[in-house]
């Protein structure tokens, strides 16, 4: 494997968790719920997946634990913001703080433990292709899953009746309600889907990316995922693009640090975040005139007047 191939390989690895978490958040936001708790759900997913995989010595059980933890956190959030119409921003921030803290408590006995390597899914012949071969076709199961997820969510949102109903609920919950769509039920399912994805993304971090667990190991990736949804203009395809741009920036700055450009390492570490902010600014400036924006009811609590 050449250096270039290795870089490509790690770019895919760095991008995958962002993509999975962003797709989940995208679905929740399309249904009109802004969940700022992605970071917390990811942290809980990461620690639960590690504990599951370590205790049962099974990656699959780890994945299951991670998704379950993310889903439960999301359900808790949903009860607050849907059942009790709590402020979504406040509840989301609380969820992040809760997730980061609770994951530290749960994971304390497991700090310093390591997992065996996750089996890779080599695709015969294709993985032998030069340059892109190893990056694209000898990755772990998560990578393929994340790409399937993008295609699946895109198809679901734009091609199915259930997806149309979900978009309607996010676009204008008053109209959706008066047409008889079950607004809160649709939102609950969308939020829990977002939680399952965040849990899966967290599981990827602890099971594949690092193979150990450490407090605060999500390192702001949940926030990047939230920003990516805006970057993507709530479209799954653009979330893919955004996740890979950010993933690339993350990996390149590591290599830049290794190559000793003479820039302070702190500055280089900040580059990916800076890139995100710049991308967001450029995109929103350009989008201002075209009218493609957030779902109409995003962040607004819905209380049926029955």
């Amino acid at each position: 494997m050449t250096t270039f191939e290795a870089i490509l390989f790690t770019v895919v690895m760095a991008s995958t968790p962002l993509l999975i978490a962003a797709i989940g958040e995208l679905v929740a936001e399309r249904a009109g719920v802004l969940n700022l708790g992605v970071e917390g759900m990811m942290a809980m997913g990461a620690v639960s997946a590690f504990v599951g995989a370590f205790l049962f010595q099974s990656t699959w059980i780890g994945i299951g634990f991670g998704m379950l933890a993310g889903g439960l956190m999301a359900a808790l959030f949903a009860v607050a913001v849907l059942g009790f119409a709590a402020n979504q921003v406040g509840a989301g921030l609380a969820l992040t703080i809760l997730g980061l803290g609770l994951s530290g408590v749960i994971g304390a006995p497991f700090v310093g433990e390591r997992l065996p390597t996750t089996p890779r899914l080599e695709i015969p012949y294709l993985s032998d292709l030069p340059i892109l071969g190893s990056a694209l076709f000898s990755q772990d199961i998560f990578v393929y899953l994340s790409l399937l997820l993008v295609a699946g969510v895109a198809w679901f949102l734009m091609g199915t009746r259930a997806g149309l109903r979900l978009r309607s609920v996010g676009e204008n919950h008053g109209s959706a309600h008066s047409l008889g769509l079950p607004v809160l039920k649709v939102r609950f399912m969308a939020v829990v889907f977002g939680g399952l994805c965040a849990g899966l993304a967290g599981a990827y971090l602890s099971l594949v990316y690092t193979r150990f667990w450490a407090p605060n190991m999500t390192a702001g990736r949940g926030w990047i995922a939230v920003a990516l949804v805006v970057f993507a203009a709530w479209r799954p395809g653009w979330a893919l693009v955004g996740a890979y741009i950010f993933g690339t920036a993350t990996v390149l700055q590591l290599h830049a640090q290794a190559a000793q450009f003479g820039l302070p390492s702190q500055f280089l570490s900040a580059v990916p975040y800076l890139a995100t902010i710049i991308a967001l600014v450029i995109l929103s400036a350009r989008r201002g005139s075209s009218g493609v924006g957030a779902p109409g009811s995003l962040g607004q609590p819905f209380v049926p007047d029955r």
Partner: protein, 518 residues
């Protein structure tokens, strides 16, 4: 079996069993009886009007019928059987179709998607085919692939109607359908409705506009305070008699006598141009309007032709690029903010009562501070004088007959008519030299509308200039001295009201210049 031809015969029609019958239907919200033992029957082929002021219980009744809210007591019979309607899905399955007052559409979805989302048993392809067929059958002219955001109010309403028709309803309920339509668009709607009634569909037509009810309906049920007060043939009663039934008292027609226009201009808008800030807005192009002391000038137009932008430019919510484009009391204020314009004696009432003119969650006392803070002594050394604000709110409540528990009531708890009286009254008590009002009586009941129009006339009689932006032509004809039409951000010639006809205004609102019409 009756054939369709028989349905047009009134004697046979009344002999038909009712399609839907409400018996002693009541809905209670806390202490308020929104619907009080309502009895109502509608037969197939009938266009039934449901008339009443805002707050009379029309919308509550409709929501019960459509399964959106639950009745507290009473029964609903459908084709002779007692039924429960637990959700809009139940209502649709029975054959009840609904065209909403505030469109239940989704801006960022296409026409076809908007229709499909309500029809769970039809495939996308079937929806597209059905949409085309219905659109052609009734001459509605809808393209399935257009984004709703890009459509006019009339087109949006036609989507609602198509959506409703594709469910093959037996009863169609329309809630205030003409509130955003031009006279021509309304007439087209009436023709569609008559065609539907001839096909044997029952139509429940909810409105507070007497003229269109007389045009369309042979039977009208009048609601007041949640009760049915009369069921009558609207063509056999005078408008005054019906209005009296609606408000419970004889309503004097508020009308202004023609008068000489003074020469001193208190408000002058001169070659005002402004670019649109987004694709949802209109650019203003070379707008000229002058208002003299003591006169009422009306701006007519279909919603979305630049009224909001004009209001923002005159009030100072948006600054223009030259000082002279807006002149208040002789002072060029194009570059000055809203407070400086208020200090010169101007007052402004925006279209949106809740959220723009008043803070929904604040009490009425606090809401008076919103427009009085720069003057009038409500703010002392940087602190709000809450006692004075409450006193002022009490005065507004007393002078303008605002029905509310008191100055501490939240703005959001007031009915539309009462809140509108409050926000108009709040500005009038400042004794402005110029008052600019956007849609002063939109969605307001007849009683409150009279109070507001009377107040505007009194203000003008006292020497102030009043500029009214309104879609209600009856209103402009009744109280304006001069009228101009706004269309696509341009304002046509201002002419004395007596020189206008409804037809001429309607055409100019559609963008046909008056000279072309002859």
């Amino acid at each position: 079996m009756l054939d369709v031809g028989d349905l047009s015969d009134r004697a046979v029609r009344t002999a038909l069993p009712p399609l839907v019958a409400l018996r002693s239907l009541s809905k209670r919200y806390g202490d308020l009886l929104a619907n009080d033992a309502i009895d109502l029957e509608i037969t197939p082929g009938e266009i039934r009007a449901l008339l009443g002021e805002n707050g009379a219980g029309k919308s509550t009744l409709v929501k019960i019928l459509y399964g959106v809210i639950e009745p507290s007591a009473g029964d609903i019979y459908w084709e002779g059987h007692r039924i429960r309607i637990d959700s809009p899905v139940d209502a649709r399955n029975l054959g009840i179709g609904m065209v909403f007052q505030h469109f239940s559409l989704f801006d960022e979805l296409t026409v076809a998607e908007n229709v499909a989302v309500a029809l769970r048993h039809m495939s996308f392809e079937a929806v597209r085919r059905g949409l085309k067929a219905v659109s052609e059958g009734y001459g509605l002219g809808l393209d399935p692939d257009h984004l709703v955001r890009t459509l006019s109010a009339g087109e949006r309403q036609r989507i609602e109607i198509v959506r409703c028709l594709l469910q093959n309803p037996k009863l169609i309920v329309l809630d205030e359908p003409t509130s955003v339509l031009t006279p021509q668009e309304s007439e087209r709607l009436f023709q569609t409705l008559e065609q539907l009634a001839d096909e044997g569909k029952a139509i429940l037509y909810i409105s507070h506009k007497l003229e269109e009810v007389r045009r369309l309906c042979r039977t009208a049920t009048i609601l007041r305070g949640g009760r049915v007060v009369a069921t009558l043939d609207p063509r056999e009663k005078s408008a005054g008699e019906i209005a009296a039934l609606m408000v419970g008292a004889e309503v004097g027609d508020v009308r202004r006598e023609a008068r000489e226009v003074a020469s001193a201009r208190v408000l002058e808008v001169q070659s005002l141009s402004m670019p649109a800030l987004s694709s949802h807005e209109r650019a203003l192009v070379e707008v000229d309007v002058g208002v003299a002391a003591g006169e009422i000038v009306g701006i007519a137009g279909v919603a979305g032709n630049g009224q909001g932008e004009l209001f923002a430019a005159i009030s100072g919510e948006r600054l223009s690029d030259s000082p002279g484009s807006v002149v208040i009391a002789g002072v060029p204020v194009g570059l000055r903010g809203i407070d400086e314009r208020r200090k010169l004696g101007a007052a402004f009432v925006p279209e949106e009562r809740l959220g723009h003119a008043a803070v929904p969650g604040h009490g009425l006392g606090d809401n008076t501070v919103l427009s009085h803070h720069a003057m009038g002594g409500l703010v002392r050394t940087g602190f709000i004088a809450f006692d004075r604000a409450r006193d002022l709110a009490k005065r507004v409540i007393g002078d303008f007959d605002v029905r509310t528990p008191g100055p501490d009531a939240q703005a959001s708890k007031l009915s539309g008519g009462n809140l509108q009286k409050f926000v108009v009254g709040r500005e009038i008590l400042r004794n402005p030299k110029v008052l600019v009002v956007d849609q002063p009586t939109w969605g307001v009941d007849a009683g409150a509308a009279q109070v507001i129009r009377k107040a505007l006339i009194d203000l003008a009689d006292g020497g102030a200039g009043v500029l009214i932006v309104s879609q209600d032509l009856d209103e402009l004809f009744a109280i304006a001295d001069r009228i101009a039409v706004i269309h696509e951000g341009r304002i046509g010639r201002i002419r004395p009201t007596a020189e206008w006809t409804r037809e001429a205004i309607g055409l100019e609102m559609m963008g046909v210049a008056a000279d072309d019409a002859h």
